[in-house]
């Protein structure tokens, strides 16, 4: 289950057709399953192919319904930077995502350890509170939080979105807790007998054993903040120089009164690429993280 995307499953489920179809019926079954799967793969991928193909079309061709570019205008990507201050937006996105992710790690790792490894009065209540916070629609608490940040004079900046991560992120704590629970208590007890305090146990014993969990929590926090649209719209929607890429991209077509799609698709491609690169480098952590959030039966 650890490497669903990158490796074949170690134990094939019994309903799976055997590796080599032995008789005609199994062969037909194999062909059916694989054609359906191939069709699914194509359908899932093809929208992104269209985005890319359109992003390199000439202005003129982008007004037609041609699907294949007659000329390849790679300079469209550079044009996006001329049309809009993309570097500023990129900087804002990076500020939000990087600081939030770092802050999440500092604050959430110890909290997850405490919730995974200690039973104390109120630990059940704390866990339920964690789930409630994790599942809370962000719109529910928007009004008081906005007023609070407005009176602190910080609306118009991304700090109202970053600061909460410095004080523990519910989803990350939950995910890290699930990972911490997988380490047998014996290891920690051994360290205790060796005279480690809880801080040392956490950083010297537990963390090295749960690196995939740390990676998964970091990736999800980075992606969530990178993709966040509601938060930035709320706090910096009217302050264009504080926009992250999500807001900038959503406004791109309208602001440049572009009837043709090529530059909008080029901007879309530019926002997409970092995420896809991140995924290709960290596939395993992604998949492990996702399966750990699903409640295991």
């Amino acid at each position: 289950m650890t490497a669903l995307l990158s490796e074949p499953p170690k134990v094939a489920p019994a309903t799976a057709v055997p590796r080599r179809p032995r008789n005609k019926r199994q062969l037909l079954d194999w062909i059916a399953v694989h054609s359906v799967a191939l069709a699914m793969g194509v359908i899932f991928t093809v929208p992104l192919v269209f985005v890319f193909l359109t992003s390199v079309m000439s202005d003129r061709q982008a007004l037609t319904s041609n699907m294949w570019p007659t000329e390849w205008h790679f300079e469209n990507f550079a044009l996006v930077f001329e049309k809009a201050p993309m570097l500023t937006y990129l900087g804002n996105s990076l500020l939000y995502s990087v600081v939030a992710t770092a802050g999440m790690l500092l604050s959430s790792v110890p909290a997850a350890y405490a919730l995974a490894r200690f039973r104390f009065r109120g630990s059940n209540a704390a866990f339920m509170l964690l789930i409630a916070a994790m599942m809370l629609p962000p719109q529910v608490v928007a009004v008081p939080l906005y007023s609070m940040w407005a009176s602190a004079g910080l609306t118009g900046t991304l700090w109202p979105l970053i600061v909460p991560y410095l004080l523990g992120d519910a989803f990350s704590i939950f995910l890290l807790r699930q990972f911490f629970l997988t380490i047998p208590e014996d290891y920690l007890d051994a360290a205790r007998i060796d005279g480690c305090n809880e801080f040392q146990i956490l950083y010297r014993v537990l963390l090295p054993m749960t690196r995939p969990g740390i990676a998964a929590a970091s990736l999800f926090t980075f992606l969530y903040t990178w993709n966040d649209y509601f938060g930035p719209l709320l706090y910096v929607g009217e302050r264009q120089d504080s926009w992250p890429l999500s807001i900038a991209l959503a406004s791109f077509r309208g602001m440049h009164r572009a009837t043709q799609w090529n530059l909008t698709m080029a901007a879309t491609t530019l926002v997409l690429i970092p995420v896809l690169v991140l995924f290709l480098f960290a596939q395993k952590s992604f998949v492990r993280g996702i399966t750990f959030t699903g409640v295991k039966g």
């Binding site: 399953v33 906005y146 410095l166 309208g254 699903g294 295991k296």
Partner: protein, 332 residues
Amino acid sequence: MTTTLPTLAAEPATTRPALVKRRGGVRGRNRRWVILFLAPWAVGMAVFFVYPLLATVYFSFTNYNGLDTADFVGLRNFVYLFTGDPVVRTAAYNTLWLVVVLTVLRVAFGLGVASVLARVTTGNSLLRTLCYLPSLVPPVAATLTFVFVFNPGTGPVNSVLGWFGIDGPLWFNDPSLSKPALTLLTLWGSGEIMIIILAAILDVPKDLYEAAQLDGAGPVMQFRKITLPTIAPVLLFGVVNSVIFALQYFTQAIVAGSVASGSADMVGNSQIMGYPNNSTLTFPVWLYQQGFRAYHMGYASAMAVVLFIVSFAFTAILIRQLRAGDSEEARS
């Protein structure tokens, strides 16, 4: 997992979790660690969860514009919400539509794709990656992708339909098709649920199928009697997750509406929310419009209270399931 360590000194033998004193409560030395480790999060919860939740309830009984002090108006906001506001009914309907359709289709579609992927033997890592990848596309980029692919003028979907002589519909520009188009967008990006279900299917013990085969159960019977019951907890998680997801459906709706309208205005402008014809105006979008465009923050808080009650009802299901899972783990 019970760890019976040789007891050192006069301390009582400990079972998991190791730091529990016999009658609950953490030993003095460890209490300090718990407090230290939990302190930042406790502050965060107080300031960013408990306080705003209580404040939302308070504001929901007031007339508040974000600047002047909030005037207490009793239940007036709720009365207006349930009997007066003509738009909120549309917004609630749209969100309810999404909750029902998205939840059913996301879980069913995830189960369908996962069942096929679980049987793939050749090229499975590539195929799984291709099916999962769209779920990583940032929501704004994904929405732009779909508004483009389905745009009635030059979009590839309608071009392909044209090859077959079909006059493609208006999709995001048609009030009766905008929500179905958003549904397609959501299904495209439902890779997470797919992966969770796939992991669960692959985890089903193989000998169960072998036993069933010996008893003469066909594939359909095996799926119904073995696969489904075994992965039921994961499906329940998928359902709760999808309901909460649909209840807070905001970004895709607001971006699709504004981009499809082709409006030159900045996204977030109230003129274009819900385009076309309020068909993409979800409950959270209307909450945002009321609270942060029209500055009816008291009324927006009343909407927030309703949203909270509904979403918390579903969260409670998840909490119960998680706690059941936890106690099972402790028992084994």
